[in-house]
Amino acid sequence: MDTLLYVENLHVSFEGFLALHNLNLILEPQERIRLLIGPNGAGKTTLFDALTGQVEPVMGRVLFKDHVNLLGLSEHVIAHHGVIRKFQTPSVFPDHTVYENMVLSSGSKHFLASFAARAASHEQEQIAEVLEQVGLLDHANELAGTLSHGQKQWLEIAMLLVQSPTLLLLDEPVAGMTRAEKDRTVALIDGIVKRSACSIMLIEHDMQFVRQIAGRGHKVTVLHEGTVLSEGSIDHVQADERVIEAYLGRGKVSA
């Protein structure tokens, strides 16, 4: 497989407003984390929406593992292929317990399979393991709604992990977290990279967090007004004056 994710000349418009225009992005199979940064409205979340079938792009191609064209597929089929997404605001099932949220996320989503009254034993083990990984094991019986903001983010991440994703799309996982919680999340992401084989695309504004992750040799892509402004290591990107200008002065930048 040459590329994990191949995005070519992607265009998305909302009644005339071009949210994304001729956006190109390539994820190599061995790449484990790709950071996506850029000012508000640069199109980061819209890109995730396009990848997960939430929004219909006007033009362009998106290939996953060389052959799967993600455009036009409905959300749940994309999820089956292993492209799993986390939302900006933590969206868990508040009226269910943490354990129930995990049960919902694990196992086969097929219609008939869900009739089984008992989750298979290996599923339970996997749930317990992932909960332990995100440190929520001792809250198993509590209602998800009663968790703190950080804990909800982690629960959502746990729910994604239990589906053994191939490509994990994290949209501002540490937004609204305390410093300590952010550090634990960094450790969590390292754990994911170590234990599972999935790659992560991560949108984040907190530059310190970005530097912590990128410092381990991961590439960073900067989006600006709907297209890729610059790409490379964190140092290369920070040195690029187009990025500085885009971030600091709101002036027009010749791409």
Binding site: F14, E15, Q54, V55
Partner: protein, 552 residues
């Protein structure tokens, strides 16, 4: 601007009414002229069975209103014989002589028929003869409407001797509406005349008069017609009448459609505010309409008891009052109940359904079931756009009212400062409250506006429909249909939906023959709406932009 036109229309109709009333009162008074020929002789012969038939035949020829009074009394069994003179029993139970003066009995009091005294018997066989004679005499009567219907009956009586009478009456006729009816009657009679030229002239006259009534006769005459010129005149007449009928029907159906559209719009305008704008599912909306109808009923009762003279103007008072009453009730309903259920549409649905039940049964207990609103005199009848096509004034008024209400709502929402605040609160409640807009007050006033519009609608619909506790239920499903089809939050959607449903319903109804036209038309419309909502789940004019993605 739209409002100004309504006021001018009302002024015109009032003026017209005054002339009409004046006209009628005038001649009526002058009828019983002193110079009545001596009718005592023929009246005496009427009371003797043997000579009764001859007496009727003789009286038939005297074109004098007093003869009409005599013969009508004979037919109604109100003709008596008192001291060998003819006496007619009046409505007040007293006897009057042929010239209308009351007959006094021995004590000087107006006489009444003695107990057991039988009126002059009319032979069963002669009943239709007297009927025919009366029609003939009515044509010279005082009342224009009676003259018109008498001419109409004579026209379809195939009695050739009536031609002379009609010609005499036509010569004297002044009333603009009675004249064409008499000409039509004459032409219909002349169709059967032996002379082909006369038949051709008669056919052309009927063609020119667009006489739908004579269509059957013309087609029958065409079958036996031999004379080529007359045949050609007949076919020409038939063709012109047919083409006229096609145009008239299309205009009629179009008006029916527009009128039904206006009714639907009036019903659903209030809902467009409470459900469309505010998202509240108000199942008691039908009862708000009912409140409007009952306000009209109460005002009408007050006017009949206290200001009977100005009875006709009760409607001008009822209209604004129904707006206020329904608005106040809306205010109470919102403040007392709906305020606690914002954001929970399904609970609001159930609570308002309960409120609806309470309103219905209380209205039944208080008002009983036999209530109705009668339109004021100047709303009765209609505008005769084309011969035979009458557009009822009440329905014209409802179309006007719907457009005025729509215009008013549009101006309020989009052009006024208050409207700005209402839209702001509805789109982003938190931001609006940050800007110092008291969302509580806006919510209650907007809901009250919705129910007030329903009140006015109910008041207007009372003119053409029923006023009873059940009327709310019949309106509620249609009103929701219109708002959902029109698209939430869009006034234009409600307009397009209500007129769309109205007009297509009324064009479809005549097309479906058989015994169930009104139903299949309504079902067809529902299926269309259901199919349409497949492709545009948020109605004609869905919300645009990013909000659309969210709402989906």
């Amino acid at each position: 601007m739209a409002f100004g036109k309504t006021v001018s229309l009302l002024a015109v109709t009032l003026g017209l009414l005054a002339i009409l009333l004046g006209g009628l009162a005038g001649p009526g008074a002058a009828a019983p002229g002193p110079a009545t020929p001596d009718l005592e002789g023929p009246a005496k012969r009427l009371s003797v069975p043997a000579t009764q038939e001859a007496a009727i035949a003789a009286l038939k020829e005297i074109p004098d209103p007093a003869v009409e009074v005599l013969l009508r009394a004979l037919k109604d069994g109100a003709l008596y014989r008192l001291r060998d003179r003819a006496a007619i029993l009046g409505d007040d139970g007293t006897l009057k002589d042929l010239s209308g003066q009351p007959i006094l009995d021995a004590a000087g009091q107006p006489a009444a028929p003695a107990d057991g005294q039988e009126p002059v018997p009319l032979d069963e066989r002669l009943f239709s003869v007297v009927q025919r004679a009366l029609e003939r005499l009515e044509i010279f009567g005082a009342d224009a409407a009676a003259r018109r219907s008498a001419a109409f009956k004579l026209g379809s009586s195939q009695d050739m001797t009536a031609i002379a009478v009609l010609e005499k009456a036509l010569a004297r006729e002044t009333d603009p509406e009675a004249k064409p009816v008499m000409e039509e009657a004459l032409a219909k009679l002349r169709l059967a005349s032996p002379d082909p030229a006369a038949r051709a002239v008669a056919a052309q006259a009927l063609g020119r008069l667009r006489s739908e009534a004579a269509l059957g006769q013309l087609q029958a005459a065409l079958q036996q017609e031999t004379d080529p010129a007359a045949k050609q005149a007949l076919t020409g007449a038939i063709r012109s009448i047919d083409s006229f009928l096609v145009i008239r029907n299309v205009v009629g159906y179009a008006f029916n459609g527009v009128s039904l559209g206006a009714v639907l719009l009036i019903m659903s305008l209030g809902l467009a505010v409470t459900f469309g704008l505010m998202g509240i599912i108000n199942m008691a909306h039908g009862e708000m309409l009912m409140l409007g109808s009952y306000t009209a009923y109460v005002v009408q009762e007050i006017f009949t008891s206290r200001f009977a003279a100005q009875q006709d103007y009760y409607f001008l008072v009822a209209l604004p009052l129904s707006f206020l009453v329904a608005g106040l009730v809306g205010l109470a309903l919102e403040g007392g109940i709906i305020r606690f259920l914002y954001g929970r549409p399904l609970e609001t649905l159930i609570v308002t359904w309960g409120v609806g039940m309470i309103f219905q049964q209380s209205a039944r207990l208080y008002f009983g079931d036999q209530t109705s609103v009668n339109s004021p005199t100047w709303f009765r009848g209609g505008l005769e756009l084309m011969p035979g096509l009458i557009l009822p004034w009440s329905r014209i008024f409802i179309v006007m009212l719907a457009l005025v209400a729509l215009g008013g709502l549009y101006l309020l929402l989009n052009r006024s400062y208050a409207g700005l605040r209402v839209r702001a609160v509805m789109q982003n409640r938190d931001m609006a409250s940050c800007l110092g807009v008291s969302t509580r007050r806006i919510d209650s006033l907007t809901f009250a506006l919705g129910t007030a519009l329903a009140g006015v609608g109910g008041c207007a619909l009372a003119l053409i429909g029923t006023v009873d506790p059940e009327v709310g239920k019949t309106y509620i499903v249609d009103a929701f249909m219109v708002v959902v089809l029109g698209g939430v939050g869009k006034l234009l959607g409600a307009v397009v939906a209500s007129f769309g449903i109205g007009i297509s319903n009324k064009l479809l109804e005549p097309a479906i023959s058989g015994t169930a036209a009104p139903i299949y038309a309504k079902v067809a419309i529902l299926v269309l709406v259901i199919w349409f909502l497949q492709w545009r789940p948020t109605g004609f004019f869905p919300a645009k932009g990013r909000a659309a993605a969210e709402a989906r």
